[in-house]
Point group: C2
């Protein structure tokens, strides 16, 4: 069933299991202790950053399937994507498995796009168990989007730090404490921000647009949620989001939190906090789902946010189109 | 409903309208006269190849919606992706519209991935009208994947020519002559091909894998189809596919055709034929759907094929993982 831009899942597909792997810097943050695997060396035994990123993603998928007590034969499809050109982390990770693969690209909102589509496939009767997963790596993202680390470039204060990490969950028709109740499709919003170091400002309007459509379609208000968690707006982007929502009559200050804001302990070198597809993937598939399973949060609205730029589009003078897909989760406990 | 890796659509979502735009070289081919718009200048009035590619895609979407006699408000979601880094053609095209966007990446199999997901969303009751679209541009693909045109590099004989073109269709719950009956999810197959100029050889095993699973899941045989059309294997890749199928006991020679093989009139400069996400998008959304609507083909199996490599993965010594998603189409006439 749909209303407006929101899909309502009659059978409420469930988070059957979840797994997260994060890097050495993320390990020291608040979320670190909730991850299944934390790396002491971000190369993860591989020869390149890209291969390390792919290995994290592949192992997060593998671990989620194992924790669900399922085998590869039980998985109907992997829905995944990542930040690298031609989503090579996801495609090469999918090569490690015998089940089908649907490649997605939604930048840092890949986690919620994957969950949305997985829930739709299950609720539509087309699948029983899907894996939604994504990840990112600080060093591969810096090399591709900005400058190679070896150059030692200074980071401007409005910038965020791409999370080294991957997370994934098995979404299932029949088993799990956390249910996906509905999901709101994102629209591309572009308010003309051209500063590629200020992703938070670029993405905030997309998050605001999706949250407001979600509240309208579901006939809910911010206070109906225990937590409204955005993807990776960072500290500055979160402040802009709150302002944008407040202007339209929604106060989310009480229960809003941002994955990018909470993933690192002290915002110092990271300036505005974390970003990257791995940011919300790690936070959701470790801390949030653990706390939901434990009954701390009963109703969570997860709106990952993605900046759909490339170095070519920016080089050609384009501004940054952004998107945010939202998923409403509820825990039975 | 699902069986194996195939989704069966009870309500059989329909192709309500379709539109294709192609470049000057494609215009001269067999398909050219079936396209809605053919360019005399492949820059399409833009300052860069990338912007021209985006404009083609945006206009193909716009035209498909118009031909469906719908407005933007009637469209539930655009499912699109392309070959450029971070799918900027699709993301920037989506910026031109007010409806939601789901970003996909499946290289040259994006057209069938989009159709598959659109049909699942409609059949699941989550949407009434979706647009599935993709495109590519010879010059932007050469610059990104190989060499800038200005270098004048020689093309090896096993290479294909990236199609300049875009195509899209409105898939609808209620109206249209052509029905999407079922769809088979692709799996990533990698037989170790490392030659980035030989996409046909790399992709053929993925196409064979999907076709064989499709025949098994749907309990059909190649002769049950008026046409089995692959995405862009080209001449060499098509020969490999036929051999691989024949080895497993399936003879597809009688009714197999490849979008890459038929898009250009004389295979001369193009060597093995066309490729690129726009290849199958243009052929399907012009020639094939027109002929199906006219009753020439009643039952068509469309298996687009994608090579999931990047310049970085190849540069790091990786082989080429490939995928093929298949969609079974039937015409009422």
């Amino acid at each position: 069933m749909k209303k407006g831009n929101t899909l309502f899942f009659e059978t409420q597909p469930k988070i059957r299991s979840y797994a997260a792997i994060c890097g050495s810097k993320e390990k020291e943050g608040v979320i670190g202790s909730y991850a299944d695997i934390t790396l002491s060396d971000d190369m993860y035994g591989e020869s390149t950053y890209e291969k390390a990123e792919c290995k994290m993603l592949s192992n997060a998928v593998r671990l989620a399937v194992e924790k669900a007590a399922l085998t590869d034969a039980d998985i109907d499809v992997l829905l995944s994507g990542d930040l690298l050109n031609q989503i090579i982390s996801a495609s090469f990770a999918a090569r490690d498995f015998q089940f089908p693969f649907l490649g997605l690209y939604s930048a840092c909102s890949t986690m919620s796009e994957g969950m949305l589509l997985a829930a739709a496939l299950i609720d539509g009767g087309f699948a029983e168990n899907c894996v939604a997963a994504t990840g990112s790596h600080f060093a591969s993202a810096e090399r591709q989007y900005r400058y190679p680390l070896e150059l030692g470039c200074t980071r401007p204060p409005q910038s965020q730090w791409t999370v080294t990490g991957a997370g994934g969950c098995v979404i299932s028709a029949d088993k799990g404490d956390i249910r996906i109740v509905n999901a709101t499709l994102g629209r591309v919003r572009d308010w003309g921000v051209t500063d590629v170091n200020n992703m938070g400002a670029a993405m905030a309007p997309a998050a605001a647009d999706t949250l407001m459509r979600h509240f309208k379609d579901t006939d809910t208000l911010p206070e109906d949620y225990d937590m409204i968690i955005t993807g990776d707006l960072g500290a500055l982007g979160s402040r802009i989001l709150k302002d944008l929502m407040w202007e339209k009559g929604y106060s989310i200050s009480e229960n809003h939190v941002d994955c990018g804001e909470i993933i690192y302990k002290v915002i110092e070198d990271e300036f505005q906090g974390g970003s990257g597809a791995g940011c919300s993937a790690v936070v959701m598939n470790s801390y949030v789902f653990t706390k939901m399973s434990a009954g701390l949060y009963k109703r969570v609205l997860f709106a990952a946010t993605g900046a759909l730029l490339s170095t070519v589009s920016s080089g050609q003078g384009e501004s940054i189109p952004c998107i945010s897909h939202a998923v409403q989760l509820e825990a039975d406990l």
